[in-house]
């Protein structure tokens, strides 16, 4: 049977090779044909300007060739070489000697149809099979016949490449041409008229409403003109002959095509055989070309030359931003002043302050656009957007949800009122600012300490559980400890930059770090030695011993850090409480101001301050709630946690204010303030209790120092009282001496006092700084006291008060002078000048009173002189005690909590100066001065007590902000006004301020020059 199988296999292999050869040949021919087609078709299309229809023909040809190829190269050979006899015939053709036997054998393969001797048949088959064996398929079915189609295909490829290289444009354009739609006849075959089809064209351009522009009339126009997008173009014209139908064909280019048709309406009253009057309109959105088309019956004519409407662009607004500085560092709670000037050709719809915090999302704050006054009206009578805008804006950073330290880029964007194509946007230049809040930065560092504490606790937990176990586990813990050491180092470095962190905390953390570092190094060495030896028992014992020591140290460190954290949490809470107090103080002043002026500006300020206060209270509530419960339970009583009640109390203030009852609101605010003061006091006590518990040595020293201060202040009060009594007797003596004689002196002094008052009233309030504003209140009080004393005839007292007034005035003058160096302003200059002018008047008043008041040394009785001497010795003793306390404070400064040591030192030094002055005054027999200096010393000591408590927790200096939370201003911005406003002011000034006689003309000229 094997020989049968061998014949069949052989023939099958021959057939398969024949089919393959036919397929290869067919594919190569197909390739050659398609290549030729791909080359010829575009070239023909290019040269003969053929279009897409040719492309379709080419595609059809290609498809047909594919089909033919399939039939000839695949299907045909498959059918042709299907039977064994055809395969045998082919082989026979090639191997003639074998032909007959092979054909017979093929017949015998089918046993059923065979006749004759089976043995012979078998023998023939065996013989044929043997003869087939040496035949090679490659020789029987050679692939050399493929050369021809290969050459054809190759030729075509070479040709294509050559054409592509030599005439790429022709080939590319040919391809493009192939896919181009067949060109139509322009305007569907309408006749192109070389001359205009209509007469004069009258055009009215109706501009978009938002531009506010009046309609533009273009009579007898050529038809070429300019208009804005959104304009409605109204066209009217006449034809030279009667027409049945007319239209305008609109196009984007001047080619002979159109994409829109506007049918013109005929005015029948003007229609005649000689012509037709036509009108029509369309809305213009972009640059447009147009032609007139007229039809009469089947005859249509279109103008060959297109008329052109160009587009007038709506320009983007221009906007300038003015800020205090290009790069600004500001406290978070601050407001910064920005100013802007914007202009647009048609109108500004919107101005946005756009700011992007570093790594955050862009945010927007809409700003005021409309100018004051009546807005301009558009064509339809509606109000138009202003073309110019010029405003200032106080940007309140406190309302932004931003963390301190973050950099903010900001600029302005102005959008115009283009409602046709959408608003055009103008951008100002960019500025940047960095938010800075010492407290919040401090909070960040507290958070880092908390994280560190957590890591240390985890380290402790690992050690406690792993104590005495494997070396490998200890190696992991040791590595984690190394990371904690690094973390501690970073924290210590960061704390150096934190002004609210105490030195002691840094020192404690540094020591802790050193300790831990040593532990880590020690353990590293130890573990390295354990890793080298295999004695598990010995390792375990040694590890246990090492663990005990490390755990004990770590436990101490964890507790120490926990104590510091608890303390800082409370201190931080008090920090917010200080901010609340400062805010309340500002509110109080604002209420007073509002009660006096009823100003809307002040009311706005109150509103802002209120919101800030409420935010702070909410922050306090949130922070106190997150304190560990044991800290709250042990140290903080409920009085310190009455945030809800405080918020309710403030709510009542708000209601009263909204109802317009400023006085009641102020009274309620006082009530709230009392509650909040009590809360703050309770919180301060909580901190003292906590320090007493965890940092008892520090707290003890602080308490001792505060007691010393209290004792010294009490001594000073006593001295001041005694001086006051002596002074009283002196004053009585003066009054007695001047009885009946003082009327004239009082009158003269009264007149000078009146002059002084007038001079003081010329100091404009608006030019005062927050500090000088406060001093002004003191000055006014002193002047009032002087007047009262003069009325009573108490000249010595009047002199004393006048001296105080003079000092206050000098302080105001000096302070204003200083502030002008810092930031110049026009009103500041006026104020400083007025203060400077008032000082000589005050001096004069003092001199007048001194003239009529005998000096104490002249009239003081011996007994009082002795008393004054005794008092001086007492004062000296008090000063000596103060010096001793100062020495002690200096020695203990480092070991007292926070900066309390320094605060005490400062207070004591200041008090010492006043004590020395008091002694001096006593020596020169001036009981008034002695009393004042002794009182001053007492006040400094009490102040030191107060500041020392705050300094013990690194209290922020918030009290110097003044009664208003002054924004960061643009330098010189207060002098800036809109020109008309500025002119008004100057004109007012011209009327108000009378010039010295003979100089009025010069002054007028001066003002004119300014205006110009």
């Amino acid at each position: 049977m094997e020989h049968r199988l061998a014949i069949v296999r052989f023939l099958g292999a021959v057939a398969q090779r024949l089919r393959r050869r036919a397929a290869v040949e067919g594919l190569l021919y197909l390739l050659a044909f398609l290549g030729a087609l791909a080359l010829l078709a575009p070239l023909l299309a290019h040269w003969a300007t053929l279009d897409v229809r040719t492309a379709w023909a080419v595609a059809a040809l290609a498809t047909a060739s594919l089909l033919v190829c399939y039939l000839l190269a695949f299907l045909g050979p498959r059918r042709r070489w299907r039977s064994a006899s055809s395969q045998a015939r082919y082989v026979g053709t090639c191997e003639g000697e074998l032909r007959s036997d092979l054909l017979s054998s093929v017949e015998f393969l089918d046993e059923a149809s065979s006749s004759g001797s089976a043995e012979l048949r078998e023998a023939l088959l065996i013989s044929t099979a043997r003869r087939l064996e040496p035949l090679r398929l490659q020789a029987l079915v050679p692939f050399s016949t493929v050369r021809r189609p290969l050459a054809a295909a190759g030729t075509v490829v070479v040709l294509y490449t050559a054409v592509a290289l030599l005439a790429p444009t022709a080939l590319a354009q040919g391809w493009k041409q192939l896919f181009r739609e067949p060109a139509k006849a322009p305007f569907d075959g309408a006749r192109l008229a070389k001359t205009p089809l209509v007469g004069d064209v009258d055009i009215v351009v109706v501009f978009p409403e938002y531009t506010g522009k009046a309609n533009l009339s273009l009579p007898s126009s050529s038809g070429d003109f300019e208009a804005m997008p959104g304009s409605t173009i109204e066209i009217s014209t006449q034809t030279t002959e009667a027409v049945e139908k007319a239209s305008i064909l609109l196009a984007e280019s001047d080619e002979l095509a159109s994409n829109e048709e506007v049918l013109l309406s005929k005015n029948s009253s003007y229609e005649s055989s000689r012509g037709t009057s036509l009108t029509g309109s369309f809305r213009l959105m972009k640059e447009t070309y147009y032609r007139f088309e007229i039809s009469n019956g089947s005859s249509r004519q279109v103008e060959a030359r297109a008329r052109h409407i160009t587009i007038a662009k709506d320009q983007a607004p221009k906007i300038e931003l003015y800020a205090p500085a290009d790069e600004l560092d500001v406290a978070k709670l601050k407001r910064i002043e920005i100013a802007y000037v914007a202009s647009d050709d048609y109108g500004i719809r919107k101005i946005d302050l756009v700011y992007t915090p570093q790594g955050g999302k862009e945010a927007r704050q809409p700003l005021e656009v409309a100018s004051s006054g009546t807005p301009s009206l558009g064509v339809s009578g509606g109000p138009l957007a202003p073309r110019n805008a010029q405003h200032k804006y106080l940007w309140d950073l406190s309302v932004l949800p931003l963390r301190p330290g973050v950099q903010i880029e900001y600029h302005l964007e102005a959008a115009d009122n283009d409602d046709v194509q959408g608003p055009n946007i103008g951008h100002s230049r960019s500025y940047s600012l960095r938010l800075f809040s010492p407290r919040e930065r401090h909070e960040d560092l507290i958070a880092r300490q908390q994280q560190l504490a957590q890591h240390m606790l985890e380290l402790l937990a690992e050690r406690l559980v792993a104590s005495g176990t494997s070396v490998a586990l200890h190696r992991n813990i040791q590595r984690a400890a190394e990371e904690v050491v690094v973390e501690m180092g970073g924290l210590v470095a960061a704390l150096k930059e934190d002004e609210l962190a105490t030195k002691k905390l840094r020192a404690a953390l540094s020591e802790m770090r050193e300790r831990m570092n040593k532990r880590v190094r020690r353990e590293d060495t130890l573990l390295a030695s354990f890793e080298k030896r295999d004695d598990d028992d010995a390792n375990t014992k040694a590890l246990q011993a090492s663990d005990e020591k490390i755990i004990a140290e770590l436990e101490e460190d964890v507790l120490l850090l926990s104590d510091w954290l608890q303390r800082q949490d409370l201190e931080n809470l008090l920090g917010i409480s200080d901010e609340v107090a400062a805010s309340r103080e500002r509110l109080k002043r604002l209420f007073e101001e509002y009660e006096r002026t009823g100003s809307q500006e002040v009311l706005d300020e109150i509103d802002r301050e209120f919101k800030a206060l409420q935010r702070k209270l909410a922050e306090m509530a949130q922070k106190s709630a997150s304190l560990p419960e044991d800290v709250l339970d042990r140290f903080v009583n409920s009085e310190a946690l009455q945030h809800q009640q405080e918020e309710n109390c403030l709510e009542k203030v708000r209601e009263l204010l909204d109802a317009g009852d400023a006085a009641a609101a102020n009274a309620q605010m006082e009530k709230c303030s009392e509650e909040m003061d009590a809360s703050a006091e309770a919180l301060e006590n909580a901190l003292s209790k906590l320090r007493d518990e965890s940092f008892s040595e520090e707290q003890k020293q602080l308490e001792e120092m505060l007691n010393d201060l209290a004792d010294l202040a009490q001594d000073q009060d006593d001295i001041a009282n005694q001086a006051s009594q002596i002074y009283k007797r002196y004053s009585d003596a003066v009054n007695e001496m001047q009885k009946g004689k003082s009327a004239e002196a009082r009158k003269t002094a009264g007149e000078t006092l009146e002059k002084l008052r007038k001079s003081v009233s010329k100091i404009p309030r608006a030019g005062l700084t927050p500090f000088t504003r406060e001093e002004m209140t003191v000055l006014e009080k002193r002047l009032q006291d002087t007047e009262t004393m003069l009325e009573r005839g108490e000249l010595a007292e009047a002199l004393s008060m006048a001296k105080h007034a003079k000092e206050s005035l000098k302080t105001i003058r000096d302070e204003l002078e200083f502030s002008l160096d810092e930031a110049w302003s026009r009103k500041g200059v006026v104020a400083e000048k007025a203060a400077r002018n008032a000082v000589p008047v005050a001096k004069k008043l003092v001199e007048q009173l001194q003239e009529v008041t005998p000096s104490p040394s002249e009239i003081m009785e011996d007994e009082d002189r002795r008393k004054l001497d005794k008092l001086r010795r007492q004062q000296q003793a008090s000063r000596n005690r103060t010096s001793k306390v100062l020495k002690k404070a200096k020695a203990q400064a480092e070991s007292m909590p926070g900066a309390s040591g320094k605060a005490v030192e400062k207070g004591l030094e200041s008090a010492l100066k006043h004590m020395q002055q008091a002694e001096k005054q006593m020596r020169s027999r001036d009981p008034s001065g002695a009393r004042q200096q002794a009182q001053e010393a007492s006040e400094r000591l009490r102040e030191a007590q107060k500041t020392a408590r705050g300094a013990a927790r690194q209290k922020q200096k918030l009290g110097q902000q003044g009664w208003r939370d002054e924004p960061v201003r643009i330098p010189g911005a207060e002098d800036y006004r809109a020109p008309e406003k500025f002119r008004e002011e100057i004109l007012d000034a011209m009327q108000d301020e009378s010039a010295p006689s003979g100089f009025s003309e010069q002054v007028k000229q001066y003002y004119k020059d300014i205006i110009q």
Partner: protein
């Protein structure tokens, strides 16, 4: 220190109004509206609400515009909890009217309205109490509150022979600040004295246990205040503070069983020390209020004294004796005389006998009993593991305990166990505070048997500490002892009813034991899981 400060039931406002109204009565008048007003005011003061209601209605009908009528009507509304109507009823009356009482009442009504604003209410199963509560977590204890009070209603009705006839208003307040708002107490006073509930103005006002860190024996407290209510009504508000507080303290357990006068270890310590040093507080010093005593310790001692005194009397003359004494006081007899009379002796002898009785009881001052027990109000939301640690005297043990608390709060119970073990070794194995904390950590580590061994002896040592019963309950439940778990969880429930472990554990125990309250506890368990 007991939580139930003797904020007894002297209704200041009504007292004042009696005087004020009395002053308004002209000397020449023999009868008429003013006399009726005085009678009505007195009925209100004595909590004779039905009588007061009738009299005031008549008064209002006769003289609707009169200041007195309007004031009394407003006050009655206040007693009824109709705060809005109080405010509207006083419209047009100046604050200084009726000797300034109008202003006080108006202010109290406004703050009561604010504190109870948005409250929901439910009536107890027996219908004798209407419980007002803030929607939210407190809902989980409303049914329980009703059940406790209904049980007390029946038990005290039998003991004292008086059952109030009208529905009693109970206000569950969310914060101590709310208690300050609905009373004349300040928040600081509440915090200092540990006052947590009041019976005043004809209602019971109780701060919810959720306002505290660990809870407090709130079920006993409810009953304590209810005793005050009953005694006030029975005696027409004539019982002095010492007797009031003695009865309330002694009978406060009646909702759950017999009053056996058993002292807590802290009370026992206080009494034993006072007896030893002869520093018992005289009954006179307890007047006008226990809260006026110089310290929390003194107040706690006073409570222990009066409680044992009532226990002694009750043991001698039973319920009938107590009833007679109260009735005699109502009828005008002095309290000491009335009590002595029912004891058939003289007051001085009674006092001497009572002290002898105390001495014979051989009271002991157990170790750690000196640690003050106080209600700790929750002030924040932080972890509370270290609350109370300062009571540990041994400094090193205190440090270890503190570290352990920090470790447990940080999710490291195994390490916490090591530190607690070190602390316990230093402080002594019987330290209840450290022991309780360690047992809880053992439970968390799955060391149930060790947890049970530690928690079981601590079960009744501190009535303020829910940790031992909760731990024990959970450990027993885990080991399949449902009956033991139930007992422990029921103890925990008396202190800490908002603990999900307690409510769910109790639900499971009840379900296993087919207890009738199983569905209540299951509901509470599921509810607390939802709202936590």
């Amino acid at each position: 220190m007991s939580t139930m400060t003797p904020r007894r039931v002297t209704v200041a406002l009504t007292g004042l109004v009696v005087i004020a109204v009395g002053l308004l009565v002209p000397s020449r008048a023999h009868a008429g509206p003013n006399e009726d007003a005085v009678t009505a005011a007195r009925a209100l003061r004595a909590w004779q609400f039905d009588k007061a209601r009738t009299l005031i209605s008549e008064l209002v009908a006769k003289r609707p515009a009169s200041q007195t009528s309007r004031y009394l009507k407003a006050e009655l509304n206040f007693f009824d909890g109709k705060y809005e109507q109080v405010i509207s009823g006083l419209d047009g009356l100046t604050d200084d009217s009726i000797d300034g009482n109008v202003g006080s009442l108006r202010s109290l009504a406004a703050s009561s309205l604010q504190a109870t604003n948005g409250f929901a209410s439910e009536v107890s199963s027996g219908g004798h109490f209407k419980i007002f509560y803030a929607p939210g977590k407190d809902k989980a204890i409303v049914e329980l509150t009703g059940d406790v009070l209904e049980a007390a209603y029946e038990a005290l009705g039998a003991d004292l022979g008086h059952k109030p006839t009208h529905q009693i208003r109970v206000e569950l307040l969310g914060r101590p600040a709310d208690l300050a708002m609905v009373s004349t107490l300040t928040e600081a006073e509440i915090e200092t004295t540990g006052t947590i509930a009041l019976c005043k103005y004809g209602k019971l006002m109780v701060v919810s246990p959720r306002a505290t860190v660990f809870g407090y024996p709130w079920m006993d407290t409810l009953t304590h205040e209810y005793v005050h209510y009953v005694v006030t009504q029975m005696s027409h508000d004539n019982v002095p503070v010492w007797l009031h507080e003695g009865l309330a303290r002694y009978l406060q357990v009646r909702w759950r069983g017999k009053a056996d006068g058993k002292l807590t270890s802290f009370d026992e310590h206080l009494l034993s020390q006072a007896l030893k040093k002869d520093t018992l507080i005289s009954f006179d010093k307890m007047h006008p209020s226990m809260a006026k005593l110089p310290s929390q310790e003194a107040a706690a001692l006073a409570f222990a004294e009066v409680s044992t005194m009532i226990g002694y009397i009750h043991k001698t003359v039973g319920d009938g004796g107590l009833q007679s004494a109260i009735k005699n006081i109502r009828d005008g007899m002095g309290a000491r005389k009335a009590v002595a009379q029912v004891m058939d002796t003289r007051w001085s002898d009674l006092e001497r006998d009572w002290i002898r009785h105390l001495r014979s009881a051989k009271l002991q001052s157990k170790r750690f009993a000196e640690r003050g027990r106080k209600v700790r109000f929750r002030k924040g939301k932080g972890d509370a593991d270290n609350v109370g640690v300062e009571a540990i005297a041994n400094e090193q043990a205190k440090k270890f305990t503190r570290l352990a608390g920090m470790l447990r709060a940080g999710g490291r119970p195994a390490a916490a166990a090591v530190e607690y073990e070190k602390a316990l070794a230093l402080s002594g194995p019987d330290d209840p505070l450290i022991g309780a904390k360690l047992s809880r950590v053992y439970l968390e580590l799955g060391r149930n048997q060790e947890a049970i061994a530690l928690a079981e002896p601590l079960l009744t040592l501190d009535e303020m500490d829910p940790v031992p019963p909760t731990t024990l309950g959970a450990a027993k439940l885990a080991s399949g002892d449902h009956s033991g778990a139930r007992t422990a969880f029921e103890l925990a429930l008396r202190i800490s009813p908002f603990d999900v472990r307690v409510r769910c554990g109790l639900a499971e125990s009840y379900e296993q034991l087919n207890h009738k309250a199983a569905s209540r506890e299951r509901q509470a368990c599921e509810y607390l899981q939802q709202v936590r």
